[in-house]
Subunit: 137 residues, 2 copies
DNA sequence: CTTGACCTTCCACCCGCTGGATGGCCTATA
DNA sequence: TATAGGCCATCCAGCGGGTGGAAGGTCAAG
């Protein structure tokens, strides 16, 4: 497999950061094109494929869904794209994140407050359990 | 089914806030005991069961995993519990939430910053795509 | 010639539900 | 009494986004 014209899935995985299994998974669901193959049927990747995988990896790390990553990939490949399309996706994602952060923060504060009021000793009295049993307000 | 001694799953669902399907699911996975049955094999619930379902509902809404809800339920039922056990679960959850919130906030700020620097017009230039292509630093 | 590191496919599992198919039960109305 | 509807039952499949394992092919080194 030490050929000049491409690398196997393992090398593409280590160069891109996307695990082998996940690369095959992305192929299965159609996020990436089916890979070319070597004569022995091993998948073959080139530098361009690795670049695409890195792009996907970063977009996923930023929390874009696979569907959105597909859209971003299409825009990435479209030289005539309007940056407004990219920005729209990004701002929608920021809004989603803001909602999620607000939700988690509210929950976090609720629990932290209950915990603060719980003595945490050998006795059973505990505002946390009481709140779950019958919430105040 | 208009009997004095219990209610069907639909009524338990609407009184507790846990959907019917979810109640059966909780039974399947052993989070709650298998329900008693009416003569016609319909599941039968009483006020105590509804209270348990409400407890579960609230704990889930606070983001505790099903496993943790199981632990909380056991502590809830244990009159001799030490409040320290409950507090430990709660504080572990707060830590998890803090980590998640920090992570989401970092991602949120990254994307918001990229979006701010993107003109969002008809032209293709876009720092968001550029960052995904090859991240700065 | 064997070992071990790759690679292949396929199938099952994780979490926490949710929806659908198919059929039984019960009550009200025509 | 027949039927319509609204419950209920079970079982199976799927969501998102992978991950792990089994069974087997391929290759280079020792």
């Amino acid at each position: 497999m030490r050929v000049a014209d491409g690398m196997t899935i393992g090398e593409a995985a280590s160069r891109s950061g996307v695990p082998r299994k996940t690369i095959r998974f992305y192929e299965d669901i159609g996020l990436i094109e089916p890979a070319k193959r070597f004569a022995n049927r091993y998948r073959r990747y080139d530098g361009h494929d690795v670049q695409t995988l890195r792009f996907i990896h970063r977009a996923r790390n930023l929390g874009f869904s696979i569907g959105e990553v597909g859209e971003l990939l299409a825009l990435y490949r479209d030289r005539r794209r309007a940056s407004s399309d990219v920005k729209r996706l990004a701002l929608a994602h920021v809004e989603r994140l803001d909602r999620k952060i607000a939700e988690l923060t509210a929950v976090r504060n609720t629990i932290a407050d209950l915990a603060r009021r719980c003595r945490g000793d050998h006795r059973p009295e505990c505002p946390i359990i009481e709140e779950l049993e019958a919430p105040a307000k």
